[in-house]
Symmetry: C2
Subunit: 226 residues, 2 copies
């Protein structure tokens, strides 16, 4: 089956652990005829810059599905769950020493430096009754609404593009990619992916990071899937 | 002479006219042993993303010198000239149909879509007595303070790094790079540069855009200048 679009994570999937772009992956992404949607836990302006520089401008799922846009200058669709996340942060930060990152740019969730015990935070969060979760993407720790994820983001993007989620190939490496991989028509995990992400994938690459994405694109093109 | 750092423009210098990163230029920049400073008219979060993705994180001159930072998570030094620019915009937008771009992210100047007559705007600005100027980078039109430019930004960055401006090589393509090229120890204009930018350069590359930057880096390395 030929898919109609590709949704792909940025950090760890087309970059290395230092967030350096894989030039090999960028080159492959530029060859694709189908639209490429960047789906990231990062903020919109970071993802917009990435989409311009990579050359796949400008359909973006940012903040793990909290912020969606299908054009560079378009007003994004922004979810309204930051309040619950702030409530959770107030409670958790009384017990744990937490440092917010890029908070002025982030609209729908809270991102923290990875310098506290996440299990302690999760246990504490259980007692609050708030409908939020804590996830670790290996690049940062996110306090996010359980109602929002890259899967709900992909569904919104599919609507904007007049497509079905089953029309998409999705590629990722981390726990915050799982819902997107679960609903996409075909799911790829790069070789460095978490165990749960690999379990969610239809295809796991032998190679890691950007090399894995390049390998996946070669595979998909060779099978006539993209 | 061996220089101690490289300051380089982004749009049109390491990208094409669509702001797509030159993978060749990125590869060359990654080989350098000296610090690479991105100097752009764009906003800080765009430049930070570029510095991470290119792999030259994270000393940045953004907003044409209005915003300076020498670390990814560091609070930037932000100039206080936006008020004059806003005054100019209020006057000009009464006569000309102007569209602000990324205004929520921009801290020190005003950027407009390139869809109005810049000479009419300049003539009108002359009558205001405001100490601001209008420049066209070919990517956008900027209303900016005359007190701030990439040259003043480079001087601030040199102070932060404990260097002299003469320790820097600078590479650019546009009118907003001229002051930086003027004060750097050695100035390069890529082949697609404006006439005034080429005049400010010690070396003009035969090739254009990212190919020009790659050519310049090869030249500087071959001469032991970087």
């Amino acid at each position: 089956m030929k898919f109609k679009a590709l949704a792909i994570d940025i950090d760890g999937t087309i970059t290395d652990t230092d967030r350096r772009l894989s030039l090999k992956a960028a080159e492959k992404l530029r060859t694709l005829e189908v639209p490429v949607i960047l789906a990231t836990g990062n903020v919109l302006c970071y993802a917009r810059a990435a989409s311009k520089l990579i050359g796949v401008c400008c359909r973006i799922i940012a903040e793990n599905g909290g912020v969606i846009t299908d054009g560079f200058d378009k007003e994004p669709i922004v979810s309204n769950h930051i309040h619950e996340c702030e409530q959770a942060f107030v409670i958790l930060s009384k017990v744990l020493d937490m440092e917010k990152l890029d908070s002025s740019l982030r609209k729908t969730e809270i991102v923290l430096r990875r310098n506290f015990d996440i299990e302690t935070a999760r246990a504490l969060l259980e007692t609050t009754g708030l409908d939020v979760e804590i996830i670790d993407t290996h690049f940062a720790i996110h306090i996010k609404s359980k109602k929002i994820n890259k899967g709900t983001g992909l569904a919104k993007m599919a609507d904007l593009m007049g497509l079905k989620v089953s029309d998409f190939v999705a590629i990722g490496d981390s726990v915050n990619d799982v819902e997107m991989l679960d609903i996409a028509g075909f799911a790829v995990a790069v070789g460095n992916a978490d165990r749960v992400t690999k379990i969610a994938a239809d295809y796991v690459t032998d190679t890691t990071y950007g090399d894995g994405t390049a390998e996946a694109i070669d595979y998909l093109l060779s099978k006539g899937m993209l």
